[in-house]
Amino acid sequence: MAVNKDKNSYTMIFAVIMVLVVGTLLAGFSSGLKPTIKANEKFEKQQNILYAMGVNNNTGAGDVAFIPTDRVADAFKTYIKEQLVIEGETASKNDKAYLIDVKKEGTKAKKDGYQRKLPLFIGEKQGKELYIMPVRGKGLWDAIWGFIAVDKTMTVQGVYFDHKGETPGLGAEIKQRYFMDDFIGEKLLDGANFKGIKVAKGNNDPKNMIKDDYEVDALAGATITGDGVSAMLKKDIAMYVPYFKSINN
Protein backbone atom coordinates (compact mmCIF):
# COMPACT_ATOMS: atom_id res chain seq x y z
CA MET A 1 0.00 0.00 0.00
CA ALA A 2 1.56 3.25 -1.06
CA VAL A 3 0.94 6.06 1.34
CA ASN A 4 2.01 9.59 0.60
CA LYS A 5 3.92 10.48 3.71
CA ASP A 6 4.35 14.12 2.73
CA LYS A 7 0.66 14.88 2.90
CA ASN A 8 -0.50 17.02 5.78
CA SER A 9 -3.34 14.63 6.56
CA TYR A 10 -0.88 11.76 7.05
CA THR A 11 1.22 13.88 9.39
CA MET A 12 -1.85 14.85 11.39
CA ILE A 13 -3.12 11.30 11.72
CA PHE A 14 0.34 10.07 12.69
CA ALA A 15 0.64 12.75 15.35
CA VAL A 16 -2.78 12.00 16.81
CA ILE A 17 -2.17 8.24 16.98
CA MET A 18 1.29 8.78 18.48
CA VAL A 19 -0.06 11.05 21.19
CA LEU A 20 -2.86 8.60 22.01
CA VAL A 21 -0.50 5.66 22.29
CA VAL A 22 2.09 7.52 24.38
CA GLY A 23 -0.59 9.11 26.56
CA THR A 24 -2.20 5.79 27.35
CA LEU A 25 1.14 4.16 28.05
CA LEU A 26 2.27 6.86 30.46
CA ALA A 27 -1.09 7.13 32.19
CA GLY A 28 -0.99 3.38 32.73
CA PHE A 29 2.51 3.50 34.14
CA SER A 30 1.75 6.45 36.35
CA SER A 31 -1.41 5.05 37.90
CA GLY A 32 0.16 1.62 38.23
CA LEU A 33 3.14 2.92 40.19
CA LYS A 34 1.38 5.69 42.09
CA PRO A 35 0.52 3.66 45.21
CA THR A 36 4.13 2.47 45.54
CA ILE A 37 5.50 6.00 45.13
CA LYS A 38 3.00 7.44 47.62
CA ALA A 39 3.88 4.74 50.12
CA ASN A 40 7.59 5.51 49.66
CA GLU A 41 6.95 9.16 50.43
CA LYS A 42 4.99 8.26 53.55
CA PHE A 43 7.69 5.89 54.80
CA GLU A 44 10.33 8.52 54.13
CA LYS A 45 8.51 11.01 56.34
CA GLN A 46 8.19 8.47 59.13
CA GLN A 47 11.87 7.60 58.79
CA ASN A 48 12.83 11.27 59.00
CA ILE A 49 10.68 11.91 62.07
CA LEU A 50 12.10 8.86 63.82
CA TYR A 51 15.62 9.83 62.84
CA ALA A 52 15.20 13.26 64.43
CA MET A 53 14.20 11.66 67.73
CA GLY A 54 17.21 9.38 67.63
CA VAL A 55 15.55 6.19 66.42
CA ASN A 56 17.81 5.05 63.62
CA ASN A 57 20.09 2.35 62.34
CA ASN A 58 23.33 4.30 62.70
CA THR A 59 26.39 2.17 63.32
CA GLY A 60 29.57 4.01 62.29
CA ALA A 61 30.65 7.55 63.01
CA GLY A 62 29.37 9.26 59.88
CA ASP A 63 26.34 7.06 59.26
CA VAL A 64 22.90 8.42 58.48
CA ALA A 65 20.88 5.21 58.42
CA PHE A 66 17.11 5.12 58.74
CA ILE A 67 14.95 2.36 60.09
CA PRO A 68 14.43 0.15 57.01
CA THR A 69 11.30 0.82 54.98
CA ASP A 70 9.67 -2.51 55.82
CA ARG A 71 9.91 -1.92 59.57
CA VAL A 72 9.36 1.82 59.75
CA ALA A 73 5.56 1.73 60.06
CA ASP A 74 5.78 -0.47 63.18
CA ALA A 75 8.59 1.58 64.69
CA PHE A 76 6.58 4.73 64.12
CA LYS A 77 3.67 3.24 66.05
CA THR A 78 5.95 2.17 68.87
CA TYR A 79 7.86 5.39 69.38
CA ILE A 80 5.36 8.11 68.47
CA LYS A 81 2.86 8.24 71.33
CA GLU A 82 0.73 11.06 70.07
CA GLN A 83 0.28 13.17 66.98
CA LEU A 84 -1.16 16.62 67.47
CA VAL A 85 -2.44 19.31 65.16
CA ILE A 86 -2.09 22.76 66.66
CA GLU A 87 -4.50 25.38 65.34
CA GLY A 88 -4.13 28.67 67.17
CA GLU A 89 -4.90 28.03 70.81
CA THR A 90 -6.13 24.48 70.46
CA ALA A 91 -4.23 21.27 69.99
CA SER A 92 -6.16 18.24 68.84
CA LYS A 93 -5.11 14.64 68.38
CA ASN A 94 -4.89 13.42 64.82
CA ASP A 95 -3.30 10.17 63.70
CA LYS A 96 -2.75 11.54 60.24
CA ALA A 97 -0.88 14.64 61.43
CA TYR A 98 2.35 13.43 59.86
CA LEU A 99 0.70 13.60 56.44
CA ILE A 100 0.11 17.35 56.71
CA ASP A 101 1.90 19.07 53.86
CA VAL A 102 4.06 21.72 55.56
CA LYS A 103 4.76 23.41 52.25
CA LYS A 104 1.07 23.81 51.37
CA GLU A 105 0.23 25.03 54.87
CA GLY A 106 2.95 27.66 54.54
CA THR A 107 1.53 28.93 51.26
CA LYS A 108 -2.03 28.96 52.55
CA ALA A 109 -0.96 30.78 55.72
CA LYS A 110 0.13 33.76 53.63
CA LYS A 111 -3.52 34.45 52.87
CA ASP A 112 -5.51 36.39 55.42
CA GLY A 113 -7.72 34.59 57.84
CA TYR A 114 -6.25 31.13 57.37
CA GLN A 115 -5.45 29.30 60.57
CA ARG A 116 -2.31 27.33 59.88
CA LYS A 117 -2.32 23.70 60.95
CA LEU A 118 0.90 22.85 62.78
CA PRO A 119 1.71 19.16 63.16
CA LEU A 120 3.54 18.14 66.34
CA PHE A 121 4.68 14.62 67.18
CA ILE A 122 5.17 13.48 70.72
CA GLY A 123 7.51 10.56 70.96
CA GLU A 124 8.98 8.59 73.79
CA LYS A 125 12.44 7.09 73.75
CA GLN A 126 14.01 5.45 76.80
CA GLY A 127 11.48 7.11 79.09
CA LYS A 128 12.23 10.56 77.72
CA GLU A 129 9.43 12.55 76.15
CA LEU A 130 10.35 14.26 72.89
CA TYR A 131 8.50 16.81 70.81
CA ILE A 132 9.21 16.74 67.11
CA MET A 133 8.42 19.63 64.83
CA PRO A 134 8.74 19.92 61.05
CA VAL A 135 10.54 22.94 59.61
CA ARG A 136 10.83 24.13 56.04
CA GLY A 137 12.71 26.95 54.34
CA LYS A 138 14.89 28.02 51.46
CA GLY A 139 18.50 27.07 50.78
CA LEU A 140 20.63 28.42 47.97
CA TRP A 141 18.99 26.61 45.04
CA ASP A 142 15.77 25.17 46.31
CA ALA A 143 13.79 24.05 49.33
CA ILE A 144 15.39 22.75 52.51
CA TRP A 145 13.44 21.08 55.30
CA GLY A 146 13.83 18.99 58.36
CA PHE A 147 12.53 17.73 61.69
CA ILE A 148 13.65 19.03 65.07
CA ALA A 149 13.22 16.98 68.24
CA VAL A 150 13.25 18.92 71.51
CA ASP A 151 12.41 18.21 75.14
CA LYS A 152 9.94 20.14 77.25
CA THR A 153 12.37 23.01 77.80
CA MET A 154 12.98 23.31 74.06
CA THR A 155 16.52 21.96 74.23
CA VAL A 156 17.34 20.19 70.99
CA GLN A 157 17.63 16.39 71.29
CA GLY A 158 18.06 15.58 67.62
CA VAL A 159 17.57 16.97 64.14
CA TYR A 160 17.21 15.75 60.62
CA PHE A 161 17.77 18.02 57.62
CA ASP A 162 17.22 17.38 53.95
CA HIS A 163 17.30 19.47 50.80
CA LYS A 164 16.10 19.38 47.26
CA GLY A 165 19.02 20.68 45.26
CA GLU A 166 21.87 22.13 47.33
CA THR A 167 25.40 21.87 45.91
CA PRO A 168 26.94 18.45 46.56
CA GLY A 169 29.89 18.77 48.90
CA LEU A 170 28.84 22.23 50.08
CA GLY A 171 25.22 23.05 50.97
CA ALA A 172 24.22 19.41 50.59
CA GLU A 173 26.35 18.66 53.66
CA ILE A 174 23.52 19.86 55.90
CA LYS A 175 22.30 16.26 55.88
CA GLN A 176 25.62 14.94 57.15
CA ARG A 177 26.05 13.74 60.68
CA TYR A 178 28.83 16.18 61.64
CA PHE A 179 26.50 19.09 60.91
CA MET A 180 23.24 17.66 62.28
CA ASP A 181 24.81 16.31 65.46
CA ASP A 182 26.12 19.77 66.36
CA PHE A 183 22.57 20.83 67.13
CA ILE A 184 22.08 18.26 69.86
CA GLY A 185 22.06 19.94 73.26
CA GLU A 186 21.64 23.46 71.90
CA LYS A 187 18.93 25.54 73.52
CA LEU A 188 16.21 27.37 71.64
CA LEU A 189 14.84 29.39 74.55
CA ASP A 190 16.66 32.03 76.57
CA GLY A 191 14.59 32.00 79.70
CA ALA A 192 11.19 32.79 78.29
CA ASN A 193 12.43 34.36 75.05
CA PHE A 194 12.69 32.35 71.88
CA LYS A 195 16.11 32.79 70.30
CA GLY A 196 16.49 30.03 67.73
CA ILE A 197 19.85 28.56 66.69
CA LYS A 198 22.14 30.41 64.36
CA VAL A 199 24.44 28.66 61.90
CA ALA A 200 27.39 30.96 62.51
CA LYS A 201 30.72 31.42 60.79
CA GLY A 202 33.86 31.92 62.86
CA ASN A 203 32.16 31.57 66.22
CA ASN A 204 35.34 30.44 68.00
CA ASP A 205 33.62 27.19 68.86
CA PRO A 206 34.26 24.89 65.89
CA LYS A 207 34.03 21.77 68.03
CA ASN A 208 30.73 23.04 69.34
CA MET A 209 31.53 22.55 73.00
CA ILE A 210 29.51 25.53 74.22
CA LYS A 211 25.91 24.44 74.21
CA ASP A 212 24.17 27.61 75.40
CA ASP A 213 25.43 30.09 72.80
CA TYR A 214 22.48 29.59 70.41
CA GLU A 215 25.03 28.92 67.65
CA VAL A 216 26.42 25.97 65.73
CA ASP A 217 29.48 26.08 63.49
CA ALA A 218 28.72 26.81 59.84
CA LEU A 219 29.73 24.71 56.84
CA ALA A 220 32.56 26.12 54.74
CA GLY A 221 31.35 27.25 51.34
CA ALA A 222 27.68 26.98 52.23
CA THR A 223 26.89 30.39 53.71
CA ILE A 224 23.52 30.82 52.04
CA THR A 225 22.34 27.30 52.84
CA GLY A 226 23.46 27.83 56.45
CA ASP A 227 21.60 31.13 56.65
CA GLY A 228 18.57 29.30 55.25
CA VAL A 229 18.82 26.76 58.07
CA SER A 230 19.00 29.54 60.70
CA ALA A 231 16.05 31.34 59.15
CA MET A 232 13.91 28.22 58.90
CA LEU A 233 14.57 27.29 62.52
CA LYS A 234 13.76 30.80 63.67
CA LYS A 235 10.58 31.21 61.65
CA ASP A 236 9.01 27.77 61.92
CA ILE A 237 9.84 26.85 65.50
CA ALA A 238 8.68 30.26 66.77
CA MET A 239 5.15 29.17 65.86
CA TYR A 240 5.34 26.32 68.38
CA VAL A 241 6.60 28.45 71.28
CA PRO A 242 3.10 29.32 72.61
CA TYR A 243 2.32 25.60 72.82
CA PHE A 244 5.44 24.89 74.86
CA LYS A 245 4.66 27.79 77.16
CA SER A 246 1.19 26.39 77.71
CA ILE A 247 2.42 22.89 78.62
CA ASN A 248 5.10 24.26 80.93
CA ASN A 249 2.64 26.32 82.95
Partner: protein, 215 residues
Protein backbone atom coordinates in the same frame (compact mmCIF):
# COMPACT_ATOMS: atom_id res chain seq x y z
CA UNK B 1 30.75 -17.54 14.39
CA UNK B 2 29.71 -15.89 17.56
CA UNK B 3 26.49 -14.18 18.42
CA UNK B 4 27.66 -10.92 16.89
CA UNK B 5 29.18 -10.47 13.47
CA UNK B 6 32.35 -8.42 13.14
CA UNK B 7 30.38 -5.40 12.00
CA UNK B 8 27.98 -5.70 14.94
CA UNK B 9 30.84 -5.92 17.40
CA UNK B 10 32.24 -2.70 16.03
CA UNK B 11 28.89 -1.02 16.68
CA UNK B 12 29.30 -1.78 20.36
CA UNK B 13 33.05 -1.32 20.73
CA UNK B 14 33.78 1.76 18.63
CA UNK B 15 31.84 4.17 20.84
CA UNK B 16 33.74 2.87 23.83
CA UNK B 17 37.06 4.03 22.45
CA UNK B 18 37.77 5.76 19.15
CA UNK B 19 34.27 7.07 18.56
CA UNK B 20 33.37 7.90 22.14
CA UNK B 21 30.38 10.24 22.34
CA UNK B 22 31.91 12.34 25.10
CA UNK B 23 35.62 12.46 24.42
CA UNK B 24 35.58 12.35 20.60
CA UNK B 25 32.20 13.72 19.57
CA UNK B 26 32.01 15.98 22.65
CA UNK B 27 28.28 15.33 23.15
CA UNK B 28 26.39 14.94 26.41
CA UNK B 29 28.91 17.06 28.29
CA UNK B 30 26.31 18.86 30.41
CA UNK B 31 25.14 15.80 32.31
CA UNK B 32 28.70 14.50 32.52
CA UNK B 33 29.55 17.61 34.49
CA UNK B 34 26.47 17.73 36.64
CA UNK B 35 26.08 14.29 38.19
CA UNK B 36 29.61 12.95 38.43
CA UNK B 37 30.54 14.37 41.85
CA UNK B 38 29.97 10.88 43.22
CA UNK B 39 30.31 7.39 41.83
CA UNK B 40 26.89 5.94 42.61
CA UNK B 41 24.77 8.52 40.76
CA UNK B 42 27.19 8.25 37.83
CA UNK B 43 26.51 4.53 37.57
CA UNK B 44 22.73 4.88 37.86
CA UNK B 45 22.81 7.62 35.25
CA UNK B 46 24.84 5.37 32.95
CA UNK B 47 22.38 2.49 33.37
CA UNK B 48 19.41 4.79 32.77
CA UNK B 49 20.96 6.12 29.57
CA UNK B 50 21.73 2.58 28.38
CA UNK B 51 18.04 1.72 28.82
CA UNK B 52 16.72 4.88 27.19
CA UNK B 53 19.13 4.90 24.26
CA UNK B 54 19.00 1.15 23.59
CA UNK B 55 15.21 0.97 23.64
CA UNK B 56 14.71 4.36 22.03
CA UNK B 57 16.91 3.42 19.11
CA UNK B 58 14.88 0.24 18.58
CA UNK B 59 11.55 2.10 18.73
CA UNK B 60 12.69 4.78 16.29
CA UNK B 61 14.20 2.15 14.01
CA UNK B 62 10.92 0.18 13.96
CA UNK B 63 9.01 3.33 13.10
CA UNK B 64 11.57 4.69 10.65
CA UNK B 65 9.49 3.94 7.56
CA UNK B 66 6.27 5.47 8.83
CA UNK B 67 7.55 8.62 10.58
CA UNK B 68 6.61 11.69 8.52
CA UNK B 69 9.88 13.50 7.91
CA UNK B 70 8.33 16.88 8.65
CA UNK B 71 7.75 16.07 12.30
CA UNK B 72 10.48 13.50 12.87
CA UNK B 73 12.37 15.56 15.46
CA UNK B 74 9.24 15.94 17.55
CA UNK B 75 8.50 12.24 17.24
CA UNK B 76 12.02 11.49 18.47
CA UNK B 77 11.56 13.87 21.38
CA UNK B 78 8.32 12.17 22.36
CA UNK B 79 9.99 8.76 22.33
CA UNK B 80 12.86 9.96 24.55
CA UNK B 81 10.51 11.81 26.88
CA UNK B 82 8.26 8.76 27.25
CA UNK B 83 11.15 6.45 28.09
CA UNK B 84 12.67 8.94 30.50
CA UNK B 85 9.39 9.40 32.35
CA UNK B 86 9.12 5.62 32.66
CA UNK B 87 12.67 5.41 34.08
CA UNK B 88 11.91 8.25 36.49
CA UNK B 89 8.71 6.64 37.75
CA UNK B 90 10.28 3.21 38.13
CA UNK B 91 13.18 4.69 40.10
CA UNK B 92 10.76 6.58 42.33
CA UNK B 93 8.82 3.42 43.00
CA UNK B 94 11.67 0.96 43.51
CA UNK B 95 14.79 3.00 44.26
CA UNK B 96 13.36 6.00 46.05
CA UNK B 97 16.59 7.09 47.76
CA UNK B 98 18.53 7.07 44.53
CA UNK B 99 15.87 8.89 42.59
CA UNK B 100 16.03 11.66 45.17
CA UNK B 101 19.76 11.89 44.74
CA UNK B 102 19.55 12.14 40.97
CA UNK B 103 16.48 14.39 41.20
CA UNK B 104 16.23 16.54 38.13
CA UNK B 105 19.01 14.90 36.15
CA UNK B 106 16.99 11.85 35.18
CA UNK B 107 14.50 14.21 33.56
CA UNK B 108 17.37 15.94 31.84
CA UNK B 109 18.29 12.75 29.97
CA UNK B 110 15.73 14.10 27.50
CA UNK B 111 18.10 16.92 26.62
CA UNK B 112 21.13 14.65 26.27
CA UNK B 113 22.37 15.36 22.77
CA UNK B 114 23.79 11.82 22.40
CA UNK B 115 20.29 10.38 22.36
CA UNK B 116 18.77 12.65 19.74
CA UNK B 117 22.04 12.39 17.83
CA UNK B 118 21.89 8.57 17.61
CA UNK B 119 18.18 8.59 16.70
CA UNK B 120 18.80 11.03 13.90
CA UNK B 121 22.11 9.69 12.65
CA UNK B 122 21.64 5.95 13.06
CA UNK B 123 18.22 4.60 14.03
CA UNK B 124 16.40 6.42 11.21
CA UNK B 125 18.50 4.58 8.63
CA UNK B 126 19.14 1.13 10.12
CA UNK B 127 17.29 -1.95 11.28
CA UNK B 128 16.20 -2.59 14.90
CA UNK B 129 18.98 -5.03 15.90
CA UNK B 130 21.78 -2.84 14.57
CA UNK B 131 20.14 0.20 16.13
CA UNK B 132 19.90 -1.57 19.46
CA UNK B 133 23.61 -2.40 19.39
CA UNK B 134 24.48 1.13 18.34
CA UNK B 135 22.35 2.58 21.14
CA UNK B 136 23.80 0.32 23.81
CA UNK B 137 27.32 0.91 22.49
CA UNK B 138 27.04 4.67 22.59
CA UNK B 139 25.38 4.65 26.00
CA UNK B 140 28.19 2.42 27.27
CA UNK B 141 30.76 4.80 25.87
CA UNK B 142 29.00 7.61 27.68
CA UNK B 143 28.69 5.58 30.85
CA UNK B 144 32.34 4.57 30.93
CA UNK B 145 33.42 8.21 30.90
CA UNK B 146 30.85 9.10 33.58
CA UNK B 147 32.15 6.35 35.82
CA UNK B 148 35.81 7.31 35.31
CA UNK B 149 35.05 10.97 36.04
CA UNK B 150 32.84 10.04 39.00
CA UNK B 151 35.58 7.81 40.41
CA UNK B 152 38.22 10.53 40.40
CA UNK B 153 35.91 13.29 41.57
CA UNK B 154 34.57 11.35 44.53
CA UNK B 155 38.00 10.01 45.47
CA UNK B 156 39.88 13.31 45.27
CA UNK B 157 37.00 15.60 46.23
CA UNK B 158 35.44 13.78 49.16
CA UNK B 159 37.98 11.02 49.87
CA UNK B 160 35.25 8.39 49.51
CA UNK B 161 34.07 5.77 47.01
CA UNK B 162 30.39 4.81 47.06
CA UNK B 163 30.29 6.86 50.26
CA UNK B 164 32.90 4.63 51.96
CA UNK B 165 35.83 6.54 53.40
CA UNK B 166 38.74 4.90 51.58
CA UNK B 167 41.37 7.49 52.49
CA UNK B 168 40.58 7.74 56.19
CA UNK B 169 38.46 10.20 58.13
CA UNK B 170 38.99 13.86 57.27
CA UNK B 171 37.42 15.12 60.50
CA UNK B 172 39.17 12.80 62.92
CA UNK B 173 42.42 12.93 60.90
CA UNK B 174 43.03 9.25 60.38
CA UNK B 175 44.57 7.40 57.43
CA UNK B 176 46.06 9.71 54.80
CA UNK B 177 44.66 12.75 56.57
CA UNK B 178 46.95 12.07 59.52
CA UNK B 179 49.98 12.97 57.42
CA UNK B 180 48.50 16.23 56.15
CA UNK B 181 46.49 15.17 53.11
CA UNK B 182 43.49 17.37 52.32
CA UNK B 183 40.47 16.80 50.10
CA UNK B 184 40.42 18.95 47.00
CA UNK B 185 37.16 20.84 47.38
CA UNK B 186 37.36 21.96 43.76
CA UNK B 187 36.72 18.40 42.61
CA UNK B 188 33.11 18.46 43.74
CA UNK B 189 32.35 21.49 41.57
CA UNK B 190 31.24 20.97 37.95
CA UNK B 191 34.18 22.83 36.33
CA UNK B 192 36.58 20.17 37.60
CA UNK B 193 34.59 17.54 35.74
CA UNK B 194 35.38 19.41 32.58
CA UNK B 195 39.08 19.33 33.43
CA UNK B 196 38.93 15.59 34.18
CA UNK B 197 37.19 15.01 30.83
CA UNK B 198 39.89 17.14 29.22
CA UNK B 199 42.60 14.99 30.73
CA UNK B 200 40.87 11.83 29.48
CA UNK B 201 40.73 13.33 25.98
CA UNK B 202 44.42 14.25 26.22
CA UNK B 203 45.44 10.76 27.30
CA UNK B 204 43.28 9.17 24.62
CA UNK B 205 44.71 11.35 21.86
CA UNK B 206 48.29 10.94 22.88
CA UNK B 207 47.84 7.17 22.72
CA UNK B 208 46.15 7.18 19.33
CA UNK B 209 47.58 9.68 16.89
CA UNK B 210 44.92 8.85 14.30
CA UNK B 211 42.48 10.87 16.39
CA UNK B 212 44.39 14.10 15.94
CA UNK B 213 43.05 16.27 13.13
CA UNK B 214 45.52 17.48 10.53
CA UNK B 215 45.67 21.17 9.88
Amino acid sequence: MGLLSKKDTRLILDPLTDDNPITIQVLGICSALAITAQLKPSIVMAVSVIFVLGLGNVVISLMRNIIPSKIRIIVQLIVVATLVIIVDQVLKAFAYELSKELSVFIGLIITNCIIMGRFEAFALGNGPWKSFLDGVGNALGYGVILIIVGFFRELLGSGTLFGVKVLGDSVEKTGLYAIGYENNGFMVLPPMALIVVGIIIWVQRSRNSALIEEN
